[in-house]
């Protein structure tokens, strides 16, 4: 069974994604704070990580940079949830190794499809 870690400071987003992925038979671990995420990710070795861009303490993009610079986690595909739709932000994210951007508000169904495709690909 595939395993996905979702990190967002909004509890309802976490709940929504968890419910949707579980209904599709995908294992989900949710995390409200990004600060301790790295050790959890290393321990769980998920197939995919979903990060929120704007989080207190450690932003999604900073976390992404840490993960992509660590050989242990560099190969895990990362989806970035963002309210920012601007082109320049997206380019910065792509440079840092983000595989896909999911712009808020998003459809859980479309998100699931994208996740399934990514899991199949990787």
């Amino acid at each position: 069974m595939s395993k996905v870690i979702v990190i967002d400071d909004e509890p309802f987003i976490l709940m929504m994604i968890e419910d949707k992925l579980k209904s599709a038979g995908i294992g989900v671990i949710t995390l409200k704070e990004s600060i301790n995420a790295v050790s959890l990710i290393k321990k769980e070795r998920p197939d995919l990580i979903i990060l929120d861009w704007m989080m207190p303490e450690l932003s999604g993009i900073d976390l992404c940079k840490i993960l992509k610079n660590d050989p242990e986690t560099a190969d895990i595909p990362i989806f970035m949830l963002t309210a920012k739709g601007q082109e320049s932000d997206q380019q910065m994210g792509l440079k840092c190794g983000v595989e896909q951007f999911i712009t808020k508000p998003f459809s859980p169904k479309a998100l699931l499809e994208k996740i399934e495709q990514a899991l199949k690909r990787n």
Partner: protein, 1079 residues
């Protein structure tokens, strides 16, 4: 014979073979006979003998028959076999001959035997080879003939065409079949027939004949051809004739063209008036034009050019003259020279000779063309011009002397010096006429002894040569005094003078004196020299008269000057007044005052035409205000009359004058007047009038002087008005320039500053006057950060100087060290001639616009994020409920979240609207007394949960008794909420927030302090800007509206808000509210 030989062979073969068989056969028979005899001897009975004998006979007979038969057959076939070697060559011959007949000349037979047949075979082969060679040769010749470009005719001895080649048919159009059998005389006309006939007759000669005739082609045209005809002889008899015809049309055309060009060349040559020769390398004349032939006769061709043209017996260069043609032959380049020829009669002539090379195809100079022009006349002209120039120079230098001084003695000595120098004389003297005593008195002398001068100091008119010249006015020249009888005084001879000349000094109507010049050697005076001397004499005479006239004039002038001095003083005073002062009113009044004084008038006024009326511009002696209408249009006044007539009008006495109506301003005391029209250029702009209470005689020079004065006044009037207008316009533009918020910087084409406005001087922090004339790029803060600005400004200036307007943005550090963004707009200043004379640069501070732009972008990003997060819940969760992903309690939980997020969205919209409302001034201010204790307690309750999460605490202090404070409770509560929530949000766990309220004089001070992250220094100035999110904005969610709303609320209460912060230590927000708010 050959047949016999064959039979012999067969027979011999037969015999040989017969013998070959008969000998063994005979031996066998002999052996069998011997056996039979033996048997017979042994036989006992005759019968037996007889039987043996008959058996033998039978056997012998049978054997003979069989043997003979086989022998014959074998011998026959063998002989046939052997005779084959004879028959094969014969058969080969037959086949070979047949093959040759069929045209196969490659046939060669095999030599089988070295016998006669072999010989014959070899001869046959040689014959075949020879035949093949001949045939090939013939074919080749046929090919030549058929491919020949030139037509070829074969004629019989009686001139009938027997064969032609294809070229013939092509050229003449007749087919080969038509030509063959035709007489050659059938294709030529009568004249050509004769030439043909004579050239085709080869009787008594065997050489070819070459001749040119025209053949009639099939299309009737005549084709010129060159025929080469050769006879074919057999036993000295002409059997055939071969004619090769060469198409001569092209040659004919070329010949015609050549003739034409030769003709035209000759006509060109003949049309040239100059002599023209073509000479070869031996200097022989090859061609000459009409001009040469007309002079030298027709027979010049073949003669040497130097003998024909220059009557020389040797080439020019040997006679030490230049020969241009020799140079042409040597160098191949055009050469020219001028020859000077002296005829036997002594006449000198000049020839200008130009030689051009004629080259062959290899570039070698084969001939030279000489153009010879007789330039004697031109040379003569040249000489005359030179002479004339010399004369003019002399006259000029003398005129210079004459015009340089007004002192007679100085002039005379100068002219004398020049004459001596010009004619290379040794000395001379000048006598001036004393008309009263009828004698000449020496005024100047040079080169003679004092003694001689003393003796000849005075001469009577008619005495001596000078006296004669003074009497007659005619110049006298003496080449040598010694041989001249006219000399009366011997002292001239004793003085050693030889060449002598006396020139009359003529005035306009009389002789004023004489020049005498002499040389100690004989001197022949040329006609031109005499003419020159006469001119000098006349010039000097006029000059002397002029000087005398000048003296008289000077005296007169002195007298007049005294008279005019007062007038000039007046003008000077008037002019200086006019030039020094530009206040038109003052200028005019004082000018009129001056004029009145100068002319001793009782009243003077200047009236100007304005709106078709005459209004008062200035007056003296009358108390009327400037601008008053004196005469309306159509009034028959003196001034209108003067203006209409455009001339001065004098009224000597009013008593005898009834044409004019006088203004009521004029008292009826005036007796006389003078009125002058005032001109600005051609246009009359008014009138100047002087009134007198006495009858005054106005003189012409007074009028003239008045006209000058009026002109000066008109110019001053015009200039002053223009100046006033310009001043006004300048004032207006200057006010505009100084009042606009954009910096305006005007420079000249060298980028030196002409003008700047206040904005610019504020930016650079220097007084306007201090920067005028400086280089434009040098006035801005000279820090490295401004390099880019200076470079951009320079680029804008350059573009504008090239007539391109530019708009470029650049950052500038101001004198105060502030960084601002400036939009530089440069445009060229173009004068009335269309020339660029400078550049106007407008520097607009666009910092604020840029900041607003940045803030808008920030707002879009922030607001979109804040709106999108709750929208995610609303859209995502409803979608999952609809899709049936969640049911029952979960669905209810989802719907609850959707509701709360919807509310959050709504609150955010409300926040934004609040700010908008406060800022627009439409929000009502609900003023009431504020109970801070109550408010602080409510706030503590409100933030209990949030503080618990952060493990923080909130302490509140109200210092002492504070006066009752009134304000909008709701808004103040909102303000405090925002500040506290910020303190919590931007702090770590264990945060401590303290609120203190105190009264300070007439103000209420509220401090909200925390021990949070602090605010970076660069963020502090922007904190209250809407949508501004500082460095910590990434980490904490928010709209960037909280502090903006706070500031708006504080401002609404007439107070102010300030921030003090130390990074990582905390922040204190101080709110100051006045108790007495301004309405």
């Amino acid at each position: 014979m050959f047949k016999q030989k064959i039979l012999h062979r067969i027979f011999l073969a037969f015999l040989i073979f017969a013998l070959i068989f008969i000998i063994p056969f005979s031996l066998t028979v002999h052996k069998e006979l011997k056996k039979m005899v033996e048997k017979e001897e042994k036989a006992e009975t005759p019968e037996e003998k007889e039987r043996i004998h008959s058996e033998f006979q039978t056997q012998f007979r049978d054997s003979i028959v069989v043997f003979s038969f086989y022998t014959f057959v074998f011998a026959f076939f063998l002989s046939l076999f052997f005779s084959r070697s004879l028959l094969k060559p014969i058969r080969d011959f037959f086949e070979g001959a047949k093959s040759i007949k069929e045209g196969n000349l490659d046939v060669r037979l095999e030599v089988i035997n070295e016998d006669e047949l072999g010989e014959v075979t070899r001869s046959f082969n040689e014959m075949a080879a020879s035949l093949q060679k001949k045939t090939e040769e013939l074919k080749r010749k046929e090919l030549y003939v058929s491919t020949m470009m030139d037509p070829l005719w074969v004629l019989s001895d009686n001139n009938v065409i027997t064969d032609v080649n294809p070229a013939s048919a092509k050229l003449f159009g007749y087919s080969r079949d038509f030509m063959i059998g035709t007489s050659v005389f059938d294709v030529v006309d009568g004249e050509n027939s004769k030439i043909l006939k004579s050239n085709l007759n080869f009787e008594g000669k065997s050489s070819s004949s070459i001749f040119e005739i025209s053949i009639i082609a099939k299309n009737g045209s005549l084709i010129p051809v060159l025929i080469t005809c050769s006879p074919i002889l057999k036993d000295d008899q002409v059997t055939d004739k071969i004619c090769i015809l060469k198409d001569f049309r092209r040659e004919h055309q070329l010949r015609d063209a050549l003739r034409e060009s030769r003709d035209s060349l000759e006509s060109i040559m003949d049309s040239i008036e100059d002599d023209l020769l073509v000479i070869d390398r031996e200097f022989k004349i090859v061609r000459a034009n009409k001009a040469v032939k007309a002079k030298k006769g027709e027979g010049v061709i073949g003669n040497y050019c130097y003998s024909t043209l220059h009557d020389l017996s040797m080439p020019c260069w040997q006679a030490e003259s230049d020969c241009p043609s020799k140079k042409v032959f040597e160098t191949g380049r055009i050469s020219k020279t001028v020859h000077r020829h002296a005829s036997i009669a002594g006449n000198i002539s000049f020839h200008d000779i130009v030689s051009y090379p004629i080259t062959d195809q290899k570039g070698n100079v084969t001939h030279a063309i000489e153009f010879i022009r007789d330039v004697t006349e031109e040379k003569e002209h040249e000489r005359k011009i030179t002479q004339r120039n010399r004369e003019l120079t002399a006259i000029n230098s003398i005129a210079d002397i004459l015009s340089r001084s007004l002192n007679i003695e100085e002039i005379l000595s100068g002219v004398m010096g020049k004459l001596i120098e010009l004619l290379r004389m040794d000395g001379g003297g000048i006598y001036l006429m004393d008309e009263a005593n009828r004698e000449l008195i020496c005024a100047y002398h040079r080169g003679i002894s004092e003694e001689f001068a003393r003796i000849t100091r005075r001469l009577r008119i008619g005495e001596d040569i000078p006296g004669k010249v003074a009497a007659t006015g005619q110049l006298i020249t003496i080449p040598d005094i010694e041989s001249d009888q006219r000399i009366e005084r011997s002292i001239l001879k004793h003085a050693g003078m030889k060449g002598y000349c006396v020139i009359p000094i003529k005035g306009k109507e009389r002789i004023v004196g004489v020049f005498c010049i002499f040389s100690f050697s004989p001197h022949t005076f040329a006609v031109e020299e005499e003419r020159l001397l006469n001119s000098i004499g006349e010039m000097t005479g006029i000059a002397i008269e002029n000087i005398r006239l000048y003296e008289e004039m000077r005296n007169l002038y002195k007298y007049l000057r005294q008279r005019r001095e007062d007038d000039h003083k007046s003008i000077l005073s008037l002019s200086s007044k006019l030039t020094a002062d530009l206040d038109i009113k003052a200028v005019m009044n004082s000018s009129i005052e001056l004029i009145k004084g100068a002319f001793k008038a009782d009243l003077a006024w200047l009236l100007e035409i304005k709106d078709q009326d005459l209004i008062l511009k200035a007056a003296s002696g009358l108390n009327i205000s400037r601008g008053e209408t004196i005469y309306t249009k159509g009034t028959s006044s003196l001034e209108w009359f003067t203006i209409e007539k455009n001339m001065p009008v004098i009224i000597p006495a009013f008593s005898s004058e009834n044409r004019f109506h006088f203004s009521d301003y004029l008292m009826p005391v005036y007796k006389s007047a003078v009125c002058i029209p005032v001109h600005a250029g051609e246009k009359v702009i008014g009138a100047l009038t002087l009134y007198y209470v006495v009858s005054k005689e106005i003189k012409e020079d007074d009028i003239h002087f008045l006209q000058i004065v009026s002109s000066i006044l008109a110019v001053a009037l015009e200039r002053s008005e223009t100046y006033e207008k310009t001043l006004l316009e300048r004032e207006m533009s200057d006010t505009i320039l100084q009042s606009i918020s954009d910096g305006i910087l005007t420079v000249d084409t060298k980028c030196r500053i002409i003008s700047v406005n206040k904005t610019i001087s504020n930016i650079i922090g220097v007084n306007q006057e201090q920067i005028l004339g400086k280089q434009c790029c040098d006035i801005f803060n000279y820090s490295r950060e401004n390099n880019s600005f200076r470079w951009t400004l320079g680029a804008c200036l350059n573009s504008a100087l090239e007539r391109r307007s530019e708009n470029i943005e650049a950052d500038l550090i101001t004198a105060a060290g502030r960084k601002i963004s400036v939009m530089i707009s440069s445009s060229p200043v173009i004068d009335s001639d269309g020339k660029v004379v400078g550049v106007v640069n407008a520097l607009r501070n666009v910092t604020r616009e840029k900041e607003i732009d940045r803030m808008k972008t920030e707002f879009v990003n922030t607001v979109s994020h804040q709106f999108r997060t709750p929208l995610s819940a609303i859209i995502g969760m409803t979608e999952m409920i609809i899709d049936g992903d969640v049911k029952d309690d979960k669905a209810k939980e989802y719907l609850t979240t959707v509701l709360s997020e919807g509310k959050r969205l709504s609150e955010m919209v409300e926040d934004l609207l609040n700010i908008a409302r406060i800022e627009s001034g439409r929000e009502p201010f609900r003023e009431e007394a504020i109970d801070f204790n109550l408010m602080l307690n409510d706030l503590k309750k409100l933030f209990t949960n949030a503080l618990k999460k952060k493990k923080g605490k909130l302490t509140t202090v109200i210092n002492g008794d504070i006066k009752e404070f009134t304000g909008d409770k709701g808004k103040l509560s909102q303000l405090m909420k925002n500040l506290i929530s910020n303190s919590i949000a931007y702090s770590d766990e264990g945060c401590s927030i303290n609120i203190s309220i105190a009264q300070k004089d007439d103000n209420l001070e509220i401090n909200v302090s925390d021990n949070g992250w602090g605010i970076p220094e660069e963020d502090i100035p922007h904190l209250t800007e809407r949508f501004y999110r500082g460095r910590h904005g990434q980490a904490v969610k928010g709209t960037g509206l909280g502090l903006a709303l706070c500031k708006d609320i504080v401002t609404l209460h007439g107070g102010n808000i300030s921030f003090k912060s130390t990074p990582d230590q905390g922040t204190t927000v101080t709110l100051n509210f006045p108790y007495r708010r301004k309405a």
